[in-house]
Symmetry: C2
């Protein structure tokens, strides 16, 4: 029965039961962390054999005959460019292979645009009195951290099941030259797990920005991170953009952080040749080369894009049961109560839930007091401000199934308590 349809007496009864359930769980003194999208140790173990790929008897030259151990090769080794180009469906000349962190590549891309400008732009972003970014919400907290750091004003755009509200995006981008970028996680979005529809991608590809230095930050973090056999598909934005002469408008990012080792993977930026040339020049002031040995290690381990796609099934086998557990726990404990909604995604790392308005902070607080650390409420919004105080990002990847099960019990109890309090006006 929906809590909203309950009489006051029924609600009081529900609340008392929920309180008891919660207090009993709290008494267990749990200590569980499901705050970040961190792969589990079991997943890390999958990549152990990668540590054997290069050893003291290995030929360390790349396919161009260059010694990967020495300085040079700022944009990465050829076979790594080819591997990621195949994976992302672009030309190898569109790839710069970076270090271990796509976040760092994104930060650097904002930093360079801010201080020095982008290809085709008339001046650096910082020479504008005011700089704005569109932020589909909820979104990835670290994206918003980057733009906030540079003092860039962030404007919320609602994310729907088909992607950002494109009417709003088109209207704002085409009319306001102070808008210089938009953060997108187009596939298995963080945290909702939505994949942008073909129409959305196409509308992005044909945007007509008022600014001459606008960029779409296309963070394709979960491009091969399916949780089921028939995963989502994402239209190739570069193919679409080429039709409208808009290839220069896109910076795409990806990494192997959630494929091999999160701290020791390989990240890439993918962009038009004009952009790559421009970025490479700016980058040459910053670095001599990224870790080409690790690039070689990854390429030799996977061979090709199919090697990566096949490999991801092993991750899925570990992750899918955790996502199933979360959604079945939510259904079982809260189904029909009408106090929590969520999407069961086909891939990615998160399950994003929506409490009654004004309850998210309370739920996170109750969970913390019972020993279960969640991502902070509001974290998925610019300035950490969820206007509805409703969204919570659940990260099921790191805990074991047992721990996750206990954590979800705490979580559902906390949702019941907070919702009842809200409806009772306490």
């Amino acid at each position: 029965m929906s809590l909203k349809n309950m009489s006051r007496a029924e609600l009081e009864e529900f609340y008392a039961a929920a309180e008891k359930e919660y207090e009993d769980l709290k008494a267990k003194g749990l200590k569980l962390d499901m705050s970040r999208g961190k792969p589990s140790t079991e997943q890390l173990e999958l990549s152990r054999p990668m540590l054997d790929v290069l050893n003291s008897s290995t030929d360390m030259t790349d396919s161009d005959g260059i010694d990967t151990r020495n300085y040079g090769g700022l944009t990465g080794i050829t076979e790594a460019k080819e591997l990621f180009a195949e994976l992302l469906g672009v030309r190898p000349s569109m790839i710069i292979v970076g270090g271990n962190s796509s976040l760092n590549l994104m930060y650097d891309s904002v930093q360079r645009a801010y201080n020095f400008g982008v290809y085709g732009g008339s001046k650096p972003w910082c020479k504008n009195e005011h700089v704005k970014f569109l932020c589909p919400v909820p979104g990835y907290d670290r994206h918003f951290g980057v733009t906030e750091t540079f003092g860039i004003e962030m404007i919320n755009v609602p994310l729907t099941k088909t992607g950002p509200d494109m009417d709003m995006v088109e209207k704002l981008v085409s009319s306001d030259p102070e808008i210089k970028g938009i953060w997108c996680v187009p596939m298995y979005s963080n945290p909702d797990g939505y994949t942008y529809s073909d129409e959305t991608v196409t509308r992005f590809a044909k945007l007509k920005p008022a600014a001459d230095d606008f960029r779409i930050f296309w963070d394709n973090a979960y491009c091969v991170h399916h949780l089921c056999d028939n995963g989502d598909t994402l239209l190739n934005i570069f193919d679409e953009a080429a039709k409208y002469g808009n290839e220069d408008m896109i910076f795409e990012f990806a990494s192997t952080s959630k494929i091999t080792f999160p701290g020791s993977g390989v990240a890439v930026i993918c962009a038009s040749e004009n952009n790559v040339k421009h970025i490479t020049k700016q980058l040459s002031m910053q670095n001599i080369s990224y870790d080409k040995v690790n690039q070689l290690r990854h390429v030799r381990y996977f061979g090709n894009a199919d090697g990566i796609k096949e490999y991801m099934k092993k991750h899925r086998d570990i992750l899918a049961p955790k996502f199933d557990l979360v959604s079945s726990k939510l259904d079982k404990a809260l189904g029909g109560l009408d106090i929590l909604s969520f999407n069961v995604p086909n891939g990615g790392y998160f399950i994003s839930v929506y409490t009654l308005n004004g309850c998210a902070k309370e739920v996170v607080k109750l969970c913390a007091e019972a020993g279960v650390v969640l991502t902070g409420a509001g974290a998925s919004y610019p300035y950490k401000k969820d206007p509805d105080d409703s969204n919570i990002r659940l990260s099921p990847s790191y805990p074991t199934l047992d721990d996750l099960s206990q954590a979800m019990d705490v979580f559902t109890a906390a949702v019941k308590v907070a919702s009842a309090r809200k409806l009772l006006g306490r």
Copy 2:
């Protein structure tokens, strides 16, 4: 006999002989590169066993029990901090272990100071109408590239055998609040190979900057890179600075780029705890963690600082004969002619030579035309402008002894030709 004391007829004769020598060498059609301080393949081979240190059966947890393969640990693993702290004679709490590039750490340090400010500073550097850096010359071209990129005005300070002209440094730093930093390579300076004297280090340590956000960029790139048994010693600037309450004034940098693999080493920034805390907060917007697996690989390979120091003797055995060859070739071909001066360094990667004023570009051009690529004349000066057109940086590390010998023949012939032309007014 000194060229300057020759009669015109003697000089003409000398020139004709030099021209012939040069043309004969040019006819050989050489193709040699001694433009950068790149370790040779033989040196890279020294570190091959490092590729076996971590394999699929290795325990991948660090000394704190943290899995190095996963996200987290932004400032590096504890044992890596301890290793570099021991090497640099500082506290582990003063170390942030970064990625593969100290240049990148320096660039980032300038970028953060420029956009967001340093610990204790009243505002970001960019909020000043004008920002200046002192640049001891000749110096490292990539340092100057970083400051030039950010539009920071660079002021030349002469480098002497004991370090920068400290009278000038003290006067400028204490009087001009627009001066926000100075680039230093205090040990085996790039390119001259001088090590700052104790007095110089002490005077740096007690600087009283007019700016509240001044930083010494102490690039200790060659701290263990001796070429002889009794290498130079450098006073520990942090120990000295502590005496004057000036520890916050210093950013020190180092890396294993010229110890293990240049493209795949580990770099560090070393600074006071106040700075480390401040930097870490800024850094947390940029990166989740650097490559901790590679940090672990390095620590397990070397064990401790003595392990690194011992290891460097193997590099010395390869490098010292090359430096000896260069200096003996210079002595033999040009000794007594009074047209070239140079320092034979006790360590580092370069031999810096000084031609007659106005001859450096000509020498580099002549060498290039005969197939020997040198570092561009002027590269060691801000804006690539050597006011005397006299300095050339020779990098003997990469070529084989045979190639180096041929390259030096071309070089000395080119010096003779250019000098004679200069003195003959051609």
